[in-house]
């Protein structure tokens, strides 16, 4: 196959340095189509060291005398150093890694070759179809229906096959509304809040353009939403752009909902950062985190200067606003920015975590990520092509999903008992979103996944994570179901840098992790000794 053309040197003798804590590893280095392997000599332990080439973000080579050094900066923010015997070998290996780590073709990527023991292809892909969430909504209200208007992805290429829409609106109206929304992303149901009878919707911006175009079907749809909620219900449109930016968008054909055209709906602007500024913020934060020798002043001013925590705060505040609108004011909420595939999803998914106890369970959170990010068309492949170390000019990269995970981490820190999953799951999702042996985060939309046959030819991350041996890493041992909404404090003093992610590889293994490990051990011991109903429920068979 074509990989062999890219591999110039099969093997070389090398020493691997993995940071201050882990001991160096010596052995034979091999480059394969998808991996970098280091197998220690026969005298050493038989452990094979393996790195997915896809997870290499940037590579730096230096040669001196008759040996060379390759520094690999990974997408999970790890920095590795390889000391290799032979200048030629070093250069060849560096070139091979460079070429193989940036392959663009999806179907030659590792998930299509990964066949782990104990997992069957196709498992877990069926966990979270749109029908699954619709069943829950249908139990709570009959104002909504599941529409298959997008069956062949022709109405909206970034939506899944089936979406939940107001029962009063037929598929023809949906098609017309789709033509009025950027990328065809007409308003769909994101979450039904049963206690208040209100709903959370998401869409993309309306294409009003400079002539302030209108669309009767789109207006009718939002009217139907309010009518379906309860008589006299109000609605808020949360636009994740500033009103300035939203106005400017008219020049390029976009725009905002005109107030007169949508009676009962009020527009609120909450600008959230996106795109390149967000990526730059991430890059600068990671840079600052990597320098352990700087002064306290320098560190704090770099932390401030990168504005990452300000973005966390804005995202959480906007999610709180949406959640408050529903729970406290009994209003329906429509969230959109421009495309409706980034900051929009950040807000809708966080609002659900705040309001919905089910989404804070292990299965519920996985379902949330699947429904609100993967199926909702967050373009993972474009956004997560590179991480913070890449020298390539960012085109479409943006750590929107990481920002979401960070906000979830902040929630977990403020409500340590209320999330069934722990930091381990968030770290795993971050890693897998950027480079993974599983197919879950491949491609940019359901349509692309369908074309690449991702569901039938790769394994789902969820089946990987839900294996008993992985559960321990990802569960929160202190979890107790909390049926209430959890309102995070978004004051700047309450928000922290997510050390477990950003300082994961630079700091010595945090002793609080050791303490955490101990808590885990005790909880597990307790289960064993008790033999009765464990505090941490065993993974339930899911249907």
């Amino acid at each position: 196959m074509e990989f062999s053309e890219l591999i110039r040197t099969g093997r070389a003798q090398a020493e691997l340095l993995r940071g201050p804590e882990a001991p160096p590893l010596r052995g034979t280095l091999c480059v394969t189509g998808h991996h970098l392997l280091l197998s220690p000599g026969p005298q050493a332990t038989s452990d094979l060291w393996l790195l997915l080439l896809r997870s290499v973000d940037s590579i730096e080579k230096r040669v001196a005398g008759d040996s060379g050094t390759i520094t690999l900066r990974c997408k999970d923010l790890r920095v590795l150093q390889l000391d290799i015997e032979g200048v030629e070998a070093t250069l060849d290996i560096a070139r091979s890694i460079e070429a193989l780590s940036s392959l663009e073709s999806v179907i030659t990527s590792f998930p299509f070759f990964y066949r782990p023991k104990g997992l069957r292809l196709g498992d877990a892909w069926h966990f979270h179809p749109p029908e699954h969430y619709y069943k829950r909504v249908a139990r709570e209200t009959n104002a909504w229906r599941l529409s298959e208007v997008n069956e062949d992805f022709s109405v909206c290429p970034s939506y899944p096959r089936a979406v939940i829409v107001p029962r009063a609106v037929d598929d023809d109206a949906l098609k017309r509304s789709a033509r009025f929304r950027q990328g065809g992303r007409f308003p769909v149901l994101s979450y039904h809040h049963a206690p208040s009878g209100t709903v959370l919707l998401r869409s993309s911006q309306p294409l009003t353009g400079p002539q302030k175009r209108r669309c009767a079907e789109d207006e009718e749809m939002l009217r139907a939403v309010l009518a379906g909620a309860r008589p006299g219900a109000r609605g808020f449109i949360v636009d994740t752009r500033s009103s300035q930016t939203a106005k400017q968008a008219r020049m390029t054909g976009g725009g905002t909902e005109a107030k007169a055209a949508y009676p009962g709906w009020k527009r609120l602007h909450r600008p959230l950062e996106r795109g390149r500024p967000l990526q730059e913020s991430f890059v600068r934060l990671v840079e600052a985190c990597g320098d352990l020798e700087q002064s306290m002043d320098r560190w704090l001013s770099r932390l401030e200067g990168c504005r990452w925590l300000a973005h966390v705060k804005e995202a959480l505040s906007t999610a709180c606003l949406a959640a408050q609108g529903m729970e406290r004011e009994g209003a329906c909420i429509l969230v959109h920015g421009a495309e409706g595939t980034d900051s929009t999803l950040l807000v809708t998914s966080l609002a659900q975590l705040i309001l919905d106890p089910l989404s804070r369970t292990m299965a519920g959170f996985q379902e949330l990520v699947e429904r609100e990010w993967i199926q909702a068309g967050h373009p993972f492949q474009l956004r997560c092509a590179h991480s913070a170390f890449s020298h390539a000019r960012p085109k479409h990269e943006a750590p929107t999903f990481l920002l979401f995970l960070d906000c979830v981490w902040q929630l977990g820190r403020q409500f340590p008992l209320s999330l069934e999953f722990g930091e381990g799951l968030l770290l795993a999702l971050f890693e897998h979103a950027y480079a993974s042996p599983f197919g879950t985060f491949l491609c940019n939309s359901e349509k692309e996944r369908c074309l690449c046959e991702v569901r039938t030819r790769t394994h789902s991350l969820w089946s990987g994570l839900n294996q008993p041996k992985e559960q321990r890493k990802v569960r929160n041992p202190l979890y107790v179901l909390n049926p209430l909404a959890i309102w995070p404090s978004v004051e700047p003093q309450s928000l922290r840098l997510w050390q477990g992610l950003f300082l994961r590889w630079t700091r010595p293994p945090e002793p609080s992790e050791v303490a955490w490990e101990k808590v885990w051990q005790i909880v597990t011991d307790k289960e064993k000794t008790e033999g009765s109903q464990p505090t941490v429920s065993a993974p339930e068979p899911q249907s």
Binding site: C289, L292, E293, Q294, S295, M296, D297, R298, W299, L300, S301, L303, E304, R307, L309, A310, K313, Q414, F415, P416, L417, S418, P477, L478, V480, S489, V490, E491, P492, Q493, S494, L495, L497, Q499, L503, T506, R507, P508, E510, P511, S512, V514, A515, K518, V519, I522, V523, D525, K526, T529, E530, T535
Partner: protein, 549 residues
């Protein structure tokens, strides 16, 4: 008695109290000589019972006939009282002002406090220098107890008993004392049993501009080194500051006269600079503007975490000299009562597992802060809200506690006590019903007859019912030296102190409770398992006995 003169209105009805985390409550406000009490009349329970000495500053405002007093406490809490009637409000405010700033120590509450609990162990006798020395004397005979300061004549800020090299007699100590700032001649602070190295502390040498020497001082310092060993003198001032000190009669050790010693300068801030840093930090924490950039730049501008980093770095350096280099050290700054004690006590936390237990930490506070003469009365007279800038206040002890918290955060399993223990110590250093932190040194405490007239904090803390609140469930004795990370990313704002009243810790407390419960439950089960195992073993041996005839 004279308090009555200060209290013009002892009682006001219909006062509304606003305080963090509780709904506003209406009740009757009473002023006594030492307390401000608010009880809601419904069920006669006290809603507020505040020591006047805990009040750092007050503001008053009037809207029509309704007056408002805002009370800012030394523990950073802010309380608001709405008082109907302008005259009552003014009276109350002026009484609080007068009562919270009493000049005479003997009028303070500890002299009036009568404990409601049974004293199991009198804390005044819990930590005597003789006991500490006994601990060392099993390991070394190179040191002795000296009673040269019995009458506080040689050094007014030392305790009557100090540990000095055996080969130096009291006469020599007297001479050395005249050569050291405040008479603080070098004394033993810590003996590292593992390798016999020591930490000593002192005041700066009074070399002055003409480079005065003192033969006895040189002899004393050299006497602490074994043959062929080297030592380090850690000066907690920058070289420039130390050089400037010569003009005022102070100075530093000339290496030529102390040939086995190397001097290292590590600058640690002191005095009003620290106080201003605290004021800025608390102001930043109370900032309500909801702006991340503003918060981070204020946090940076306060420099508090920079001070933490400096102190911890110096303590790590001292500990490294002892444990890694196998060298003894002498630490001093100017007076040797502030940054010196921060470094010597933190180095012990790093080096000595005993000082990470509750009892050991209490002994450390007693030895390295109280008996070592840290002027608590001056340093803790005012906290972060006080407008009158007096020059003696400085949160030196709070910085020490913060540094301990940083280490505790990094090594949660290595400490027998939890964060609450440190918070409690902070509170009592600034305002307390106990006499422990009164006075500036042992000499003053002696004159005040604190042992006879007041209760020791340790008498209260060391009862099982209190201890249980301060014990960490994760503790597992760790006999190793623990090296904290001092990278800026590793140091955090101490939320338990600085955001304590701004943010409810309800959910974090719940999680902590849950963890404690799980650990307790686990212990019970373990005990059960052990009993069952023993029974099983017994049954098996019985079986064996029955089988064999």
């Amino acid at each position: 008695m004279e308090f009555a003169e200060l209290i013009r209105t002892p009682r006001v009805d219909n006062v509304v109290l606003h305080r963090p985390f509780y709904p506003a409550v209406e009740g009757t406000l009473c002023l006594t000589g030492h307390h401000l009490i608010l009880s809601s009349r419904q069920d006669n329970t006290e809603e507020l019972w505040l020591l006047h000495s805990n009040i750092d500053a007050i503001d008053k405002r009037f809207v029509g006939p309704l007056g408002t007093i805002i009370i800012k406490c030394k523990d950073f809490r802010i309380i608001q009282l709405d008082i109907p009637g302008m005259e009552e409000c003014l009276n109350i405010a002026s009484s609080i002002e007068a009562l919270s700033t009493l000049d005479s120590i003997t009028l303070m509450y500890p002299f009036f406090y009568r404990p409601m609990f049974e004293v199991i162990e009198d804390g005044w006798h819990s930590f005597l220098p003789e006991q500490e020395f006994e601990f060392y004397s099993s390991a070394t005979s190179e040191w002795r107890l000296s009673y040269v300061n019995k009458e506080f004549a040689v050094c007014p800020s030392y305790s009557p008993i100090v540990i000095v090299p055996k080969s130096i007699d009291d006469e020599a100590l007297r001479k050395v004392a005249t050569f050291r700032h405040g008479g603080r001649f070098p004394v033993l602070s810590y003996y590292h049993k593992k390798n016999g190295m020591v930490i000593m502390r002192s005041g700066q040498p009074l070399t002055g501009t003409n480079g005065r020497r003192c033969k006895e001082d040189e002899k004393l310092i050299n006497a602490t080194l074994r043959a062929g060993k080297r030592g380090y003198i850690i000066d907690t001032r920058s070289l420039t500051v130390a050089q400037q000190a010569r003009a005022k009669g102070g100075g530093f050790e000339q290496e030529a006269h102390y040939p086995q010693w190397r001097r290292i300068h590590k600058s640690i801030e002191r005095y009003h600079i620290l106080q201003e840093s605290l004021i800025k930090l608390v102001e930043a924490c109370n900032d309500q503007t909801h702006n991340m950039d503003r918060w981070l730049s204020k946090l940076e501008a306060s420099n508090w975490l920079t001070h933490i980093k400096e102190i911890l770095t110096t303590a790590c350096l001292a500990a490294q000299c002892i444990d890694r280099e196998g060298a003894s050290i002498l630490i001093h700054g100017t007076e040797g009562t502030d940054s010196t004690l921060q470094v010597t006590s933190l180095a012990q936390i790093i080096l000595e597992p005993r000082s990470r237990t509750i009892r050991g930490f209490e002994a450390l506070i007693e030895r390295e802060w109280l008996q070592a003469g840290h002027p608590f009365q001056q340093r803790c007279a005012q906290s972060a809200y006080c407008n009158s800038r007096q020059k003696w206040e400085s949160p030196v002890f709070l910085l020490f506690l913060d540094c301990v918290w940083q280490i505790l955060r990094q090594f949660p399993c290595s400490f027998e006590f939890n964060e609450n223990f440190l918070i409690m110590l902070f509170e009592h250093a600034y305002a307390s019903q106990f006499g422990t932190f009164l006075g500036n040194n042992e000499s003053e405490r002696c004159k005040l007859k604190l042992q006879q007239k007041t209760m020791s904090l340790w008498s209260w803390v060391n009862r099982p019912s209190e201890l249980s609140k301060f014990t960490s469930p994760l503790f597992e004795a760790n006999n190793l030296v623990i090296w904290p990370s001092v990278a800026p990313q590793s140091l955090h704002l101490w939320e338990g102190i600085f955001l304590r009243w701004n943010r409810s810790s309800k959910y974090l407390d719940e999680a902590y409770e849950e963890m404690v419960n799980i650990i307790e439950h686990n212990k019970e089960l373990q005990a059960k398992v052990n009993i069952l195992r023993r029974q099983l073993a017994e049954l098996e041996t019985e079986d064996g006995m029955q089988e064999s005839p």
